[in-house]
């Protein structure tokens, strides 16, 4: 701005613009730019690291409590839970698995230390993204006996019926999840069928108007049971051992 004013005063006709202008082109302040961005990045890194250090343990703790509450709510009568990881060698207590990345299952116990049930999780693709569901699995009945949606983006008023609709929840009172003769997979995969056409105990009767969400629920149930049920049946001895 000052250069411009200067120029017009010194050279009103504008004849010598090029000569007058050339030495006055402001140099790009490379050093200043590097310094500024460097210092800002450092401040930024410091603040983020500090916030992470402070909040990480609190977040881990509240997530642990949330999972525990979900497990204890879905399995009536349970007072404590233990986590197990499904590994190729069978069930191992969580944290002791050799390789990471195995599916976690939650074993719930009553006050006397008796195994009350197991909580297993599965994911299905719903109307607006993944649907995460926790199921209660009864090892003796070989059936799913309860369900609770952990995380969903389903349309309010339709998708949230998955947790509240009494007729739909009846599907999960004794959803058959028996293993086949070899004990490697379910004898009958769990499927969602159109509303009112349920004939077998391994079928889920869909909610009218929320077919995609119901189907996601069926996929989640099938995935959870296919993954966890064989390992649970093989590892029953480990599960019923007192701690």
């Amino acid at each position: 701005m000052s250069t411009e004013a200067h120029r017009t005063q010194a050279d009103p006709g504008g004849l010598n613009i090029i000569q007058a202008n050339a030495p006055q082109v402001p140099a790009t302040p490379t050093f200043a730019m590097l310094r500024t961005l460097g210092v800002i990045a450092m401040i930024s890194g410091l603040l983020v690291a500090m916030a992470y250090e402070i909040t990480a343990p609190i977040i881990a703790e509240s997530e642990r409590i949330a999972t525990e509450q979900a497990v204890l709510r879905i399995i009536p009568g349970a007072v404590s839970k233990r986590d197990f990881t499904i590994s190729p060698e069978g069930l191992v207590p969580a944290g002791q698995a050799a390789g990471a990345g195995g599916q976690t299952i939650y074993a719930a116990y009553d006050a006397a230390g008796q195994l009350k049930g197991l909580a297993i999780t599965g994911v299905g693709t719903g109307y607006a993204g993944p649907l995460q569901v926790m199921f209660a699995y009864d090892a003796a009945l070989q059936a799913i006996v309860g369900s609770k949606v952990l995380k969903s983006n389903e349309t309010p008023g339709f998708g949230d019926k998955l947790d509240t609709d009494p007729t739909f929840l009846k599907n999960f009172e004794a959803l058959d999840a028996r293993l086949n003769a070899e004990g490697t997979a379910l004898a009958n995969p769990i499927v969602t069928v159109k509303n009112g056409t349920k004939t077998d105990p391994w079928q889920i009767d869909a909610i009218t108007g929320a077919t995609i969400s119901s189907r996601a629920m069926g996929k989640a149930a099938n995935q959870a049971a296919q993954r966890a049920a064989p390992a649970i049946q093989r590892g029953l001895a480990i599960l019923s051992q007192p701690e």
């Binding site: 961005l37 930024s44 916030a51 909040t55 949330a66 008023g157």
Partner: protein, 233 residues
Amino acid sequence: MAESPQQTASAKSPAPLFNLQENLTADTFLRGLWQENPVFVMLLGMCPVLAVTNSAINAIGMGLATTFVLVGSGALVSLLRNWIPKQVRIASYIVIIATFVTVVDYTIHAISLELYAALGAFIQLIVVNCIILGRAEAYASKQRLVPTLVNSLGMGIGFTLALLSLGTVREILGNGTLFGYQLFSDNFQPWLVMVLPPGGFFVLGAWLLLFAWLKQRRERRILEQAGVSAHGR
């Protein structure tokens, strides 16, 4: 262009904090609440306004998170304003804003898992909320620390109130509750569309209509009064 004479004037000014480019008045704070309300007047940051106002508690969470980012980034931009070359100012502002957004993201995650899940990606998306970059560019980069803090706080609270005015209406009509408490008997059939995305547009439109009508009525009154006095004379 306009800033250079002001800056030279301020360099001579002996008063340390307050009377630089703008005097700190009640207006510095109140402007964000009413005259320059980010949502209802400037129509900025519409994405979170429409997306997360399906309940009052989400609206408050989002509003407070944005307020924190506004105040924090405003303070840092204001402190560093004479020191950031203008070629890299946008990059600098974005890094500063992103820092505060990350901090607020961790904080909300630590405070409430439920709120964190409800707000979802919209917390991270505060980075690209144009209110914040707009205030950094238009205000914080030119003003001293204290007016910036006060003005950012006003803008943040104005944003929060705007979100809340959408969130309460949408939650009452669409869910029959307010802050999770049931307001009506079980016979109330919630007006579901209000908590779905279209409801955001309906309620925002209704509020804008109300404010435009109020403004028009006031202007007409002023005109009529002026007419009466001119006639009397």
